[in-house]
Symmetry: C2
Subunit: 543 residues, 2 copies
């Protein structure tokens, strides 16, 4: 009986787990593996730079449940340290597969090209940035190691690292490896007790509120959450990272909770709750409005994939999905709230003749533009802060690195998103500074026939930082973004100065099969209300 070969087994597992695309830049240590990938059902998407592959794989993982970045040793791998760190911080299961010098080549420790310090330097770096990391040097353990790290990615929704020495690709492995672990179940007694305590607390509360976090998205619990809400009639707010886990038109939806940075009525309602049920929320600073949030643990129930806490004590072995279903089925009394705040549905947008475009009006227009097939992908900065006020009608996805806030995410992310789900049409919101980092990955979008609509909020540099500390370091060279299609030989570019130009450009872009880029010329002093509040808060802390 033939034993599986290491590279083939890895490819097969990825296919079984639903992966269809691998984001990559080729390099000699990984060429042999890429050749095998090319013969498999997986499709290779090679980006301009590894950084783009990393962000694309992260976004792909957010939509599809698993993403793969395949790179060469060190000169490729180390270029994606930052996107992988982002995936770690924001819970996105990215599998990093790195080619590497062969096991036999490492004997006597020669100076092979791309080597930094020791042969395991890259492995050590990724041990810091992943939940599981392995180098497949031993055919006796290789398959088990592949299963172990892939299981960790599924369990924690965080990145993992697999190093593949180039002489091990076709090594047959031993068969006696354990099959993939089943997900750890909740401890039934602990779960029952935790649910019972939560139910009692909710029953005794005057104004229970659910806060839905990003893990609801990552673990695919949107429907479970919806059932819980409709069964119990408890109103729900979302964190910034959790925006879009529930249709914003839902009558029980309050809005995004962002502390003092967000809408006052949402803040007041949430903070006056005497029973706040946090489901899959990160307690991070920007995610919770830069510490302007006032949430009292005495009134909190918080369950994530990593821990469950009610008031001041913790329960182990309680899974988030089991807890949500447990609450749903616990027979909590339906008490529809009297009246709750609710985001305003967007008004019809009518372009004013000759009116220069402002950020407020830009987002009003975008509100009218998005529909159920849109995925909004926002880069950190005002693109993201203003984007949070967009009204997500029903199933629209909203993706933004709201906790890790790495600039340069949005354009390459749009590639991952549209390949992960071709029904989605990416609307990319990106600042001019962030675009200059990774925006030329539009080249990759064009090469693979994708058609994102990219809105560049062009306000002459790092406008988010100016209120905190201005200096020439916040200035950048003004690019003529609308000329980029000339360089790439494909795509459509638009200069947008007025509301009517915006209208026309969006209509043309929607109909286009190729990417569109809208250079929206904003007054450098024109920022969104959310950003004004944020930078005022951050400015105090920056010194």
């Amino acid at each position: 009986m033939e034993q599986p070969r290491i590279a083939q087994y890895l490819i097969e597992r990825l296919v079984v787990l639903g992966v269809q695309h691998v984001f990559s830049v080729p390099g000699d240590y990984v060429l042999g593996f890429l050749h095998q990938v090319e013969q498999s059902p997986l499709r290779i998407v090679n980006t301009c730079d590894e950084q783009g592959a990393g962000f694309a794989a992260d976004a792909y993982a957010r939509i599809r449940g698993l993403g793969v970045a395949c790179v060469t040793y060190c000169v490729g791998g180390l270029k994606i340290a930052n996107p992988v760190a982002e995936a770690f911080a924001e819970k996105s299961p990215v599998v990093v597969i790195s080619g590497a010098p062969g096991t036999k080549e490492r004997v006597k420790n020669p100076l092979l090209h791309h080597k930094v310090r020791e042969f395991d330097t890259q492995l050590r770096v990724f041990e810091q940035l992943t939940v599981a990391a392995t180098a497949l040097h031993d055919p006796r353990t290789a398959l088990r190691e592949i299963d172990r790290v892939l299981a960790a990615a599924a369990r924690y929704r965080r990145p993992v690292y697999i190093e593949l020495p180039r002489d091990m690709l076709d090594t047959p492995a031993t068969l006696d490896h354990t099959p993939p672990e089943v997900p750890e179940p909740s401890n039934p007694e602990t779960l029952r007790e935790a649910v019972r305590e939560a139910v009692d607390m909710i029953g005794a509360a005057r104004q229970p509120v659910i806060m839905a976090g990003v893990e609801v998205h990552r673990f695919g619990l949107q429907d479970a959450l919806l059932q819980l809400i409709e069964r119990t009639q408890i109103p729900v707010a979302a964190t910034m990272l959790g925006k879009s886990v529930i249709a914003e038109g839902h009558p029980l939806y309050l809005g995004v909770y962002e502390g003092a940075m967000g809408h006052e009525e949402v803040r007041a309602y949430v903070e006056s709750s005497d029973c706040l049920i946090l489901l899959g929320c990160f307690m991070s600073d920007i995610n919770l409005g830069i510490f302007t949030a006032h949430l009292d643990p005495a009134y909190s129930i918080s369950v994530t994939s990593e821990q469950a806490a009610i008031r001041y004590h913790r329960y182990d072995e309680v899974r988030l999905d089991d807890f949500i279903r447990g609450l749903t089925e616990a027979g909590i009394e339906r008490r529809p709230p009297d009246h709750v705040p609710h985001p305003e549905a967007p008004a019809r947008f009518v372009a004013e003749h000759n009116a220069p475009i402002t950020i407020r009006r830009l987002f009003q227009r975008l509100n009218a533009f998005i529909d159920d097939d849109t995925v909004v992908i926002a880069d950190p900065g005002d693109a993201m802060f203003a984007g949070l006020d967009l009204f997500i009608q029903s199933r629209t996805e909203f993706l933004a690195p709201a906790y890790y806030t790495s600039l340069g995410f949005a354009v390459p992310a749009s590639i991952g998103v549209q390949l992960a789900n071709p029904k989605l049409r990416p609307l990319v919101l990106v600042g001019d500074g962030a675009f200059q980092m990774t925006g030329m990955e539009l080249s990759t979008a064009a090469r693979f026939g994708l058609n994102p609509i990219v809105v560049v909020l062009n306000n002459g540099g790092y406008a988010t930082e100016r209120p905190m500390q201005d200096g020439t370091f916040n200035d950048i060279l003004p690019w003529r973004f609308s000329r980029i299609p000339d360089v790439l030989g494909v795509g459509a570019g638009f200069d947008v100065h007025t509301e009517e130009q915006l209208d026309a450009a969006l209509d043309t872009a929607r109909a286009s099969d190729t990417f569109s880029i809208l250079d929206v010329h904003l007054d450098p002093s024109d920022t969104s209300p959310a950003l004004q509040r944020l930078t005022a808060t951050l400015g105090v802390r920056v010194k």
Copy 2:
């Protein structure tokens, strides 16, 4: 008596060490420090992406002896993991200064934005990639720590990492720190013994040869090497990384030694030596022609900044500079060699009418173009391999990551080089694939008034990899590189199909105050002889 404040002390030390520019992308954790830098004699050069800042700082360090990349926490720092790894591998003293959450902010371990896993995750990553790393949390040790890591950068010519919590900038430090260490001297007895043994071995040898490595460049020992050669009349070859440490017109210069990849007469002469004196050489694979080199330790003397070895034994505490001077002054008998191989000086280039440009003719033309003020900066790939055959008349600098071979180095490196020495005119040789990674940093060159001449070797993808393993992953979108000046609003673009067009474009470019980009359209199957030999060798090893 006022005690120095931490940030001010760091800035002062950098100025004393000859730094004039800091490469950066702003971000909130580092804004306070950037503000202080802006008030100092240092000039901030903000690049499009941190990756560009990393490569620019590396190149700056190679020319000037120290370079600085100043980034924000994680989202900035982790983006330069790869350029810093390159600086480590190729001995370039880059100081990474990263802003970070304040020491007081870290209490109770909150989830601050940009944090990956633990507050020290980034520090741990850079411990793998630097020779010294520190986080300045303690005002009692901060100045000593700054001195310690800067001394390590000088001693090893490798990168170091300084993390600056944003609340420590203006903290006064204690004064009782040790002043910067003097360089460790050689042990005089050991040095004397090592020089004596080397002199005996050279005296007994039939055909001694010096191999000059990159450390001769990094430690500024070019003049010391020249004296040694002229005093002893021992002929000298260079490694790939060491190319340009000696004027290639020197009568005792043999050429670049690249094993079977290089010129046969150089290989034969070096390998038939019965006393090979390796000075500051890395024994790496590409640097030595992918293990096609046949160098026998029984006939070798090898001294680097890290160790000295003669035949099969080692000496500790012998410095490279002391060893070179020791040999020079040892009274070695002058024995001018009979006849040695020597690179051919370039012939006059006359463009053929209507002749399509080939890679061979391109480099013949570039040979005629370069002069003493040119710095040739080559990206890995055929740009570098063909570039190695350029004839460096006298003091021309030749920079290429010949060991670490990270794509995307050359364009951002040209920024660092020209700021490090404004008399140098960068001639950038870059493949079309590598340009798509970082080439838009031309934006930074334009913003700071630099005028590199960028030659894009446009052969339709990753041509270096095709002979090893071809696939669609080696294809890229064809960019119209000559249109990039339209996007940036500055610069000159040229499409080059023929020899006459090349002639005209280079003449125009030389006279230009802004950057020029030459899109040199090559036949995809047209590769340099050096690359053909290399890929044939690598192809065997790739599976």
